[in-house]
């Protein structure tokens, strides 16, 4: 009962909304980025080349410390998960996941071209991200953050996405027959 009597009384709606802890889209997106790591398999050479598992952010930082706090002290298969802010896509060599921010809309094609064929999971909330060759696109639906997948891009990057991830995706592009769940 985190709802105060005061606002409940005057404005019951205020409280209904306050009853649940409120998360922002970025809170949830950060949690997804962390979670994706567990459901994606990177090519072997990539996964053993570094002691770190890097989630990289391209463009203006939308997460602030949220992502850093989320992954602080977390490891994946013995590798420490770190967040890095990139100045350009060419610095993404040692990244496992690259999140492309809202500020990069104009440069999206350029970034994706630089990352293509590299073993990197590209993620963004930019519209048309999958059409441009991105792998996972966040979608905002009904006050919830969901995601869609371009399987062809994943295969190009040499990534294997688990069936669990594909099952949860709102839709999956780039498979034979354009399998779609919605």
């Amino acid at each position: 009962m985190s709802c105060g009597l005061v606002l409940l009384l005057l404005f019951p709606k205020f409280c209904n909304a306050q009853n649940s802890t409120q998360f922002t889209t970025h809170d949830v997106e950060a949690a997804y980025l962390y979670n994706f790591a567990k459901f994606v398999q990177w090519p072997d050479d990539k996964s053993t080349s570094s002691q770190q598992f890097s989630i990289c952010l391209l463009g203006d930082d939308e997460f602030g410390r949220k992502l850093d706090e989320l992954i602080a002290d977390e490891t994946l298969q013995g590798r420490k998960i770190v967040a890095r802010r990139l100045s350009s896509a060419s610095a993404a060599e040692s990244c496992q996941i690259v999140f492309i921010g809202q500020s990069e809309e104009a440069r999206l094609s350029k970034h994706l071209a630089a990352l293509t064929m590299k073993p990197v999971l590209t993620v963004s909330a930019l519209p048309q991200f999958l059409e441009h060759g991105g792998t996972i696109q966040f979608l905002f639906q009904n006050n919830r953050v969901r995601f869609a997948v371009n399987l062809a891009s994943a295969q190009q990057a040499g990534l294997t996405l688990s069936s669990e991830l594909l099952k949860v995706a709102v839709f999956v592009e780039g498979t034979a027959g354009k399998e779609s769940k919605q």
């Binding site: 809170d27 919830r144 953050v145």
Partner: protein, 686 residues
């Protein structure tokens, strides 16, 4: 010279105001105070815990409801009132160590420190040393004291890390909260015990805030019962007193617990308790008969008390729910000047029913008994009778319904309250809310609210020595005819999410006040005991009408994920004048000159690499001629660094722009200099 002498009378007429003012000054300095002064929406921070999300599955993540913008809870679009919320982040990042200091960045809220342990907190005008037009609630427990008709801020102490949020509603709140929520309501909501599991220990030390320390342990028993225990202490130094008397020190120790029990999905119980003890220093001026003179002494009030709060919420299918809320509160104050012991018992129930046609009906009833005893320690300071029970019986009904299915809602309701001073008081309101598009809200409201009399207005008997030879006394007297002060308020506001990164909130108000407190007709008399002499009797009266109007603008801009800028600007116009048949222009002038006409703040919150934060806030307050306070600007700065998940270092500076500045005199002769303060602190959690 006798009062029959015309020369005396003319002199007396000139000086009586001054005398009364001095007399009141004593009251103020002593903590007995009263009169007056002024002035408030916003983006509320979502207190998120990303860590909680980490353990969710992908599927669960897809079902987490999010706020569409980082800072604005969806609820503000459904709220037809000027509401602002301070979140946990705001509280921690403010660096404030006291509740009033936390409120300084809230739009339209006027926080003025009188001295190291006293604050005047006003919303939309008529501020006073006891914040008498503002109702402060802590977890639903009213902190209003009927003796001085306001808040003893020196005993309103919470462990700030336990606070979930602070909701500030500007404007009349009488329909729900009853009498004395005339200009606004401040509601402190503490965290559920399930959110405070583990250990916390924190300490800080510095100038002015010499020591603050707290420990807390949160435990659970099974999945449904959690509780926490805490203890805290504070030692505050004196501010810059006029003659370096160092009288306004303050210390307090405080312990308590909170238990939350959820035996089923439908029921939640909360039990809380607090106990505190400390001392609060003041300089007071007391009339003395033997020897006959006016004494100025440094006094220390022993302050102690506690409370027990019980709360039960039951949810029915279909979104209806029932709340039952009860508390006991004990307050003790004892000084050289006077003492008071008060026990308050309060019981409320509230039923919230979701009805057909999308109606939200809320009704409730409550009662409060508050017996108090005055311990008279000076023959010149008294409340008569010594013992009195303040009581309230109330009921209210409010319904919200949709005029258009999605975009237009009307809320109407009224409080009906019986009190032992003025009988029945009716406090209705009507509120209209229109959402032209999503993430925009236009609202308007009309409300009536009252401030009911308290013991000061009715029962005070305060005697001061005006001259020794010939012996002339001045008596300020409570009046048995003192009535409620009335407010009829009109408000409107607009809030919109202008872009993904920019939110703005605007509110405007026009309030009409009737029967405000003033001095009434004075009379001369003679006394023979305990001394022989003349006495000028000055009773309280409802001799002033007033008007206020103003606007409050509060933008919130988040240019990047790591930087947030919040600003606000408040303008207030306050006009007060004697009612027909009264002539107390001086108190009217005091009302007018005790509230800032303009206030502005700019707040910056910056997230730096390595989990460091740097924040500052700048504020400007215009002059208060009746308080002998010039306009001032100052700045607070706060830096913190989270070393690892469990250790945080903090450095905080307040009032940085000058060694000291004045904020409020409280009708005292000279205001106290509020000093620059700096402290360093460390917080450990596990």
């Amino acid at each position: 010279m006798s009062p029959a002498n015309p020369a005396f009378w003319s002199r007396s007429m000139v000086h009586e105001r001054t005398v009364a003012k001095q007399v009141l000054g004593h009251l103020v300095a002593s903590g007995l105070l009263w009169l007056v002064s002024v002035s408030a929406s916003g983006a509320a921070n979502a207190s998120s815990q990303p860590d909680q999300l980490k353990s969710l599955s992908l599927e669960e993540l897809g079902n987490v409801e999010v706020t569409t913008v980082s800072k604005v809870p969806e609820a503000v679009w459904q709220t037809p009132a000027a509401v602002y919320v301070l979140t946990r982040d705001d509280i921690r990042r403010s660096g404030a160590t006291t509740l009033p200091d936390l409120l300084r960045t809230v739009p339209g809220v006027d926080v003025a420190e009188l001295q190291g342990n006293q604050w005047a907190v006003g919303i939309r005008g008529f501020n006073s040393a006891f914040s008498k037009d503002v109702l402060l609630l802590i977890d639903g427990r009213s902190t209003y004291t009927p003796l001085f008709e306001g808040v003893y801020w020196d005993v309103q102490d919470v462990l700030l890390d336990d606070v979930e949020r602070i909701e500030i509603i500007r404007g009349p709140g009488g329909t729900i909260w009853g009498a004395n929520a005339v200009n606004g309501v401040i509601n402190i909501v503490t965290r559920n015990a399930r959110d405070t599991l583990g250990t916390l220990a924190s300490g800080s030390s510095g100038y002015v805030d010499r020591f603050n320390g707290s420990v807390r342990e949160g435990l659970r028993h099974g999945d449904h019962l959690q509780f926490r225990l805490f203890a805290k202490g504070l030692v505050r130094e004196d501010e810059q007193n006029v003659n370096n008397d160092r009288y306004d020190t303050w210390h307090l120790v405080h312990g308590g617990f909170r238990a939350d029990w959820n035996p089923s999905k439908q029921d939640s119980f909360t039990a809380q308790a607090d106990a505190y003890s400390g001392a609060s220093g003041q300089q007071i001026s007391i009339g003395s008969y033997a020897p006959l003179k006016q004494l100025v002494i440094d006094d220390t009030f022993s302050i102690s008390g506690g409370d027990i709060v019980l709360n039960w919420q039951h949810s029915y299918a279909g979104g209806s729910d029932l709340h039952i809320h009860a508390y006991f509160d004990r307050t003790n104050r004892q000084g050289t000047e006077f003492g008071e012991t008060r026990n308050t018992v309060d019981f409320d129930f509230i039923d919230h029913i979701n009805m057909f046609l999308r109606q939200n009906l809320i009704w409730g009833a409550g009662m409060r008994f508050s017996p108090s005893t005055i311990i008279q320690t000076q023959p010149t300071v008294n409340f008569a009778p010594h013992g009195k029970t303040d009581s309230i019986y109330s009921t209210f009904l409010q319904d919200s319904f949709r005029l258009l299915p999605r975009s237009l809602a009307l809320t109407v309701g009224s409080k009906f309250e019986y009190n032992n001073y003025t009988g029945i008081e009716i406090q209705p309101n009507a509120r209209l809310l229109w959402n032209p598009v999503s993430h925009a809200a236009l609202w308007a409201a009309v409300s009536r609210a009252v401030r009911t009399p308290g013991r000061l207005d009715r029962d005070l008997q305060l005697t001061d020595v005006y001259t020794i030879a010939p012996p002339i006394l001045v008596r300020i007297l409570g009046s048995p005819n003192f009535k409620s002060e009335d407010l009829l308020g009109y408000e409107a506001g607009y809030r919109q999410l202008l872009t993904n990164k920019l939110y703005a909130d605007l509110a405007a108000f026009k309030n009409h006040y009737d029967k405000l407190e003033s001095y009434g007709t004075q009379s001369f008399g003679t006394i023979t005991t305990p001394i022989e002499g003349e006495v000028l009797n000055i009773p309280f009266a409802n001799g002033i009408d007033g008007n206020t109007d103003g606007v409050e603008i509060a933008p919130d801009w988040k240019p990047t994920g790591w930087w947030e800028l919040k600003g606000n600007f408040s303008h207030l116009h306050l006009d007060a004048h004697p009612r027909p048949g009264f002539s107390d222009t001086e108190t009217a002038t005091s009302y007018e000159g005790s509230s800032p006409h303009r206030m502005a703040t700019l707040q910056s919150q910056l997230n730096l690499p390595h989990r460091a934060e740097f924040d500052f806030d700048y504020r400007f307050v215009s002059r208060l001629p009746a308080q002998m306070v010039e306009r001032f600007q100052t700045m607070d700065a706060h830096a913190s660094w989270l070393l690892d998940k469990s250790l945080r270092f903090t450095v905080s500076g307040r009032n940085m722009l000058q060694p000291h500045h004045h904020e409020f005199a409280g009708d005292n002769d000279l205001p106290v200099g509020i000093r620059r303060s700096v402290y360093g602190g460390i917080t450990w959690t596990r």
